[in-house]
């Protein structure tokens, strides 16, 4: 390499060093620790135990439960909740009057900008036995229940919808704004109804945004920790324990760092796979 091109890539060094030391380093360390029996305390040296951690995991009821709950949480809160609601809000915003649009946007985005833990507390208060949801149900003469105990995974999923929908809404608003007016108007003149236009024109035209959005919200939802931690701590008895909470409990409450890391590695692999698909989607734009 010539001296000139060396000087040119010099500004990349601080960022590259940080990324190597504090991001790539831990990932490599993760891949190593996952194959050891490292514990939190009282151990001089961890030893290499091959695939034992993974074998334990797939025979562990609690792990399989966490995988299942992570799947439910992701499908309900991200794919069904945030994605559909975000698209619906963005579509309604195209037609609504300006004050209503601005007001709704501000409220939904505030829920998104709030710190994760604060969002957790607000939704905790909302779903508690003495909370707002039950007060409303009571007022409507509908049966109430202790949501955080009977249906904790549903409560935290709704919490994630509340917190995350703004992202999908913003992505879809940007996408819908790019559809030329003439196309939808032409379809309208040809007598295409609302659903027909949505299905045959709007959705195909924003399909890249849909794919990107689904990828990103899935990845965001896979790493939700604070929200669930504040609302339920993963309980009661593991009924809202998704993989990040399971990993945390194994590593710190049960001191099994090696086992917790093995679970973390699996989560990372799933995330990496989704990430790869996402990069392929955007590859042409680099």
């Amino acid at each position: 390499m010539t001296r000139r091109s060396l000087v040119r890539i010099l500004p990349l060094t601080p960022a590259t060093l940080l990324l190597l030391l504090f991001l790539a380093g831990p990932i490599a360390y993760c891949a190593y620790i996952a194959f050891t029996d490292l514990q939190l305390t009282g151990q001089a040296h961890e030893s290499f135990i091959g695939f034992d951690n993974f074998r334990t995991a797939f025979g562990d009821e609690a792990f399989l439960n966490a995988v299942w709950l992570t799947l439910v949480f992701t499908v309900v809160s991200a794919l069904l909740g945030q994605n559909t609601l975000g698209l619906a809000l963005a579509a309604l915003m195209q037609r609504a009057s300006k004050p209503v649009r601005t007001l709704t946007g501000a409220i939904v985005i505030t829920a998104w900008v709030l710190p994760e833990v604060v969002a957790g507390f607000l939704l905790y208060a909302f779903f508690r036995k003495e909370g707002t949801l039950n007060a409303i149900l009571d007022w409507l003469h509908l049966p109430t229940q202790n949501w955080l105990f009977t249906l904790p995974i549903l409560a935290v999923s709704f919490a994630n919808v509340w917190r995350g929908t703004a992202f999908s809404m913003l992505v879809y608003s940007a996408a819908l704004n790019e559809i030329p007016k003439e196309i939808t108007e032409a379809a309208e003149v040809d007598g295409a109804g609302g659903w027909c236009r949505l299905w045959h024109i709007t959705l195909p035209m924003i399909r890249r945004s849909i794919a990107t959005n689904l990828m990103l919200i899935t990845l965001q939802t896979l790493s939700v920790f604070g929200l669930i931690w504040v609302m339920t701590r993963g309980g009661p008895s593991g009924k809202s324990q998704t993989l990040p909470l399971f990993m945390y409990e194994e590593a710190f409450q049960k001191s099994m760092i090696g086992y917790g890391t093995a679970v973390a590695l699996l989560l990372l692999l799933v995330g990496g796979l989704f990430s790869m698909i996402y990069v392929r989607l955007l590859r042409t734009e680099v």
Binding site: L12, L92, V100, A111, V118, L170, Y278, V279, L282
Partner: protein, 283 residues
């Protein structure tokens, strides 16, 4: 054309608008309920878990929490942690984005693809090994260690955004500066960065907001209570202090959340609505 068919599109458009307005208002109300709880409870002398209009308004809840150990120290810690992390992120991202945006090189594409890949990795998943690693290299429970990790976790997205904003600054101005003998660093600081003010603001605010709201990273990497940022210390309102004072918890939530909301509004206004970020994320 008969009058009916001329009127129909207009009427149906008005009906559509009203229906859309109604739909949005229903959604807005649902989203508003939890937010209303925190605002009303913060001013309520005997707040509980329901949304209710207080019988009387009071600032006692704020009085009770605006003390050094409960609010000021955690907020100062948050500021040091997130301010330091953001400064490091923005500086490194601006430096890295410059060659990526300005010079053609065979390294650019693989570098950018790796960055894009890293933007969407679930950082939560690596926190357990990061903890173990930090114990080993004596960075656990240190402010600088946490700042470095924050910066590294935010950098991929910051570089990606920064490079896209930098691409929007025309190259001609710098070429003039180069012929006058300015170095790359000089033209970056004197010409490019001032011209991409809004973009720089977006990257800075976005990084800061993400760090300010992050709970898991400081929760794992810091141990001493005195060092804890507000994101972690807020949990003290539960458990440790006995019965939960919901009014005070709400007041603290308001104080802790206000800075990021103000910052967001500031950037969103400069960019004409909050939609620029959505567009930027879309790629």
């Amino acid at each position: 054309m008969p009058p009916t068919s001329r009127r129909t599109p207009t009427t149906s458009r008005t009906t559509h608008r009203l229906a859309a307005d109604a739909g949005l208002l229903v959604a807005a109300t649902a989203f508003l309920l939890p937010l209303a709880w925190v605002l009303l409870s913060a001013l309520d002398p005997d707040a509980n878990l329901k949304v209710k209009v207080p019988d009387s308004l009071t600032l006692d809840n704020f009085d009770a929490i605006l003390k050094p150990d409960i609010t000021f120290t955690p907020l100062l810690n948050s500021l040091l942690l997130c301010g330091g992390g953001t400064a490091l992120t923005v500086a490194c991202a601006a430096l890295a984005a410059y060659p990526l945006s300005r010079f053609r090189s065979r390294l650019n594409r693989p570098f950018l693809l790796t960055i894009l890949f890293a933007t969407s990795l679930p950082i939560t998943a690596i926190m357990v090994p990061v903890y173990a690693l930090f114990v080993r290299v004596n960075l656990i429970d240190t402010l600088q260690g946490t700042i470095f990790f924050f910066a590294a976790s935010q950098l991929p997205f910051a570089i990606w955004l920064m490079k896209n904003f930098m691409d929007g600054v025309p190259k001609e101005l710098e070429e003039a500066a180069w012929t006058d003998g300015a170095s790359s660093l000089q033209s970056l600081i004197r010409i490019v960065l001032p011209l991409m003010g809004p973009g720089l603001a977006v990257v800075t605010v976005f990084s800061f907001v993400m760090m300010w709201g992050n709970f898991f990273v400081p929760f794992m990497l810091l141990l001493t209570p005195d060092q804890m940022p507000a994101a972690v210390s807020i949990n003290e309102f539960f458990g440790n202090r006995g019965m939960v004072a919901y009014g005070q918890l709400a007041a603290f939530s308001v104080v802790y959340s206000t800075p990021v909301i103000l910052l967001y509004v500031l950037v969103a206004r400069r960019l004409g609505g909050g939609f620029a970020l959505g567009g930027a994320v879309k790629g």
